[in-house]
């Protein structure tokens, strides 16, 4: 078990712009960090640099306090689960699992015992005599996991291990992986493009885009306090709503104008934003923070909208409505009785409002 520190790590491939740029990342001993982001964001390159398959162009990688930049993969004491499992097709499952231990010259009896133990834990004992070609995707994934666990490494690296599984199996394996991590609390770096995996499995989520780290925080923090517009829009389904807005300062204090509504910002929020030299902002509201307005006028801003699309999901309903020329996506509890064309009044929960500077797209509040 070891901690991981990446300092100023950059990776340039010949003739292309940086795949990873100035990455600073610290992972504590035993932590489960998910590196997430869209395709091409640099997450797999980062993982490969940690594994030793790529050398950083700049910066330093430390695992367990030791600089690993020039250390070959076989000497880093890591285990990796590949997206395509990378099981040796000409060996039986038993030999696949025992491969690493044979290299380390473990005694035959202990190899057999450990292989059987892990196989039992992962439910793959009946498969030990078969070859990878005879197994299903889920079974192969468990074997790959077993091979990594048997390595007893100081760090686990997982490269989109669930992406080739069907949705039901993926959900099941998410739970199993967390359970395994609880049993073997090894420092883990898990790479995925799926935000659901990130949010459900991680102790902390590192969100990357364009080779740069956008934010690293606990899943709840990422959701409630996104550091910029990209983070806010990547996390959360349906996507957060963005509207152009304007901050205005007057004798009465600070007010925010958006969607033809004007709302005074009192209290701590107003006090925080007042001194900032910002006028043009992007206003963000998550779909669940927009509700059907009650009959009585409350304190919250209300606006009239026309329903365009209703998506019943069973436990909740997504409603896409139009306010003037803006499209608003809302999440309501099930059974709204709404249909396309209905005119509704929407109430925005100001306390959950997220304001972003229009130029820098950084989160202001």
């Amino acid at each position: 078990m070891a901690d991981i520190v990446l300092s100023g790590v950059s990776k340039y491939f010949k003739g292309e712009k940086a795949a990873v740029y100035d990455l600073d990342l610290e992972v504590e001993d035993g932590e489960f960090v998910v590196v997430v982001g869209p395709s091409g964001c640099g997450k797999t390159t980062t993982l490969r640099m940690l594994a030793g398959f790529e050398t950083p162009t700049k910066g330093e990688i430390r695992i367990g306090g030791k600089v690993m930049n020039q250390v070959p993969p076989k000497d880093r004491d890591l285990a990796m689960v590949f997206q395509n499992y990378a099981l040796f097709p000409h060996m039986t499952i038993e030999k696949n699992l025992a491969f690493g231990m044979k290299i380390r010259r473990n005694p035959k009896s202990s190899i057999k015992k450990e292989v059987e133990e892990i196989a039992g834990m992962l439910g793959i004992t009946p498969l030990l005599g078969r070859k990878p070609g005879e197994l299903s995707g889920g079974e192969r994934q468990r074997v790959a996991l077993g091979r990594a666990l048997l390595r007893r490494p100081q760090v686990f690296l997982l490269d989109e291990p669930l992406s080739n599984l069907d949705a039901a199996l993926r959900a099941q394996m998410r739970v199993e992986l967390k359970r395994i991590h609880a049993q073997f609390p090894v420092t883990t770096i898990y790479v995925t493009h799926d935000q659901v995996e990130a949010m459900t499995m991680a102790d902390r989520v590192a969100l990357m885009q364009g080779g740069r780290l956008q934010q690293i925080a606990k899943p709840e923090t990422l959701y409630e306090k996104p550091s910029n517009i990209f983070v806010a829009s990547f996390v959360g389904t349906p996507k957060i709503n963005f509207f152009p807005g304007k901050l205005s300062r007057s004798v009465d204090g600070l007010a925010i104008d958006f969607l033809s509504m004007k709302q005074h910002l009192n209290g701590s929020l107003g006090a925080k934003l007042l001194p900032l030299p910002v006028e043009d902002v992007t206003v963000g509201f998550r779909p669940e923070d927009i509700r059907l307005a009650p009959r009585d006028e409350g304190d919250l801003p209300v606006v009239t909208a026309t329903v365009e699309l209703v998506e019943p999901l069973g436990s909740e309903t997504n409603v896409v409505a139009r306010v003037m020329d803006q499209v608003v996506t809302c999440k309501f509890p099930a059974r709204t009785g709404l249909t396309s064309g209905d005119v509704i009044r929407l109430e925005f929960d100001i306390l959950q409002m997220k304001l972003f500077d229009q130029e820098s797209s950084m989160h202001l509040n």
Partner: protein, 297 residues
């Protein structure tokens, strides 16, 4: 056309049933089938005729260039063995086995490096290797002979087999590189993460998966060396180390007369090991690639 005017054909139960398309196909199809088979049979006969003659001549004590009724005598085989067929086969085996081992080892290592590692001017190097596969060995024999004389390597079966290996190496490197290219790199990365060194990765992962290619390369080198005439003739003048392809000439050059019977028997004896090799290896080669299951997609 209005829908009401559309005529829907009704099946006439009384009309004679014709399976129109099938009937139309049978006659031309039959002609095509027969003519193709006749042509193939003729081609087969053309290719098989020399082999049939070979068998016939080897069993006929009065064999000639013509195809006769077999006489069923083993006299020719005895003559061939007396003339040194056994020894020649042994010499050929030595040359072929040594050259195959050397060429396969060298080519596998070279192909692995060319496939997996960053080599300066790799594209030019590969093009050069490809060009060398077409280089006629006759161009090189005189210079090689001079070098051999200088080094004292003439009349040595071992050094002769090295030259035979060298003539096969460009082609086998090219062949093996393409096979090794198909071994997924992820498997090597997985092995590296497990703690395997480069040699172990080559030995335990790459070679087993590229085995069909290695077998093909070995067989081709073996056959190439087995039938080699010019190189052993020039580089090894020692009659006791003559391989079969050189030895066969003794039945032809003496007095301008060709002794067809012993020549045919000698040829059959000389071909036997290669035929056996082919029969053994064809079963292994049917296994094909074992990648299915190792890597998804």
């Amino acid at each position: 056309m209005a829908i009401e005017e559309l005529e829907i054909p009704v099946l006439d139960e009384e009309a004679p049933k014709s399976d129109g398309y099938a009937t139309r196909r049978i006659r031309p199809g039959l002609f095509q089938g027969v003519s193709v088979n006749v042509v193939l049979a003729l081609l087969g006969v053309v290719f098989l005729l020399p082999l049939i003659w070979l068998l016939d001549a080897s069993l006929n004590p009065h064999a000639s260039a013509a195809l006769t009724t077999p006489a069923w005598s083993l006299k020719n085989f005895r003559a061939a063995l007396a003339a040194g067929a056994g020894g020649a086969i042994k010499n050929s085996l030595y040359l072929a086995i040594v050259s195959t081992i050397v060429a396969t080892v060298v080519s596998t290592l070279a192909a692995f490096v060319l496939s997996r590692r960053r080599v300066p001017f790799k594209a030019s190097l590969l093009l050069l290797i490809l060009f060398l596969t077409g280089l006629p060995v006759t161009l090189l024999l005189i210079p090689i002979f001079e070098i051999f004389v200088h080094l004292g390597w003439v009349d040595s079966p071992f050094y002769t087999s090295l030259v035979l290996a060298a003539t096969s190496v460009p082609f086998t490197i090219w062949l093996l590189k393409n096979f090794i290219d198909q071994v997924p790199r992820e498997l090597e990365e997985a092995a590296a993460i497990e703690g395997a060194s480069e040699l172990r990765i080559l030995w335990r992962i790459v070679i087993p998966l590229a085995m069909p290619g290695i077998l093909v390369a070995s067989i081709l080198t073996f056959i190439n060396s087995w039938g080699s005439f010019l190189i052993p003739l020039v580089l090894d003048a020692n009659p006791s180390s003559q391989p079969g392809a050189v030895g066969i000439y003794q039945f032809m050059s003496a007095n301008g007369v060709v002794h067809f019977g012993p020549l045919a028997a000698y040829s059959i004896l000389f071909s036997a090991p290669v035929v056996v090799l082919y029969l053994i290896c064809s079963r292994w080669l049917n296994g094909g690639f074992a990648f299915a299951g190792g890597v998804k997609g």
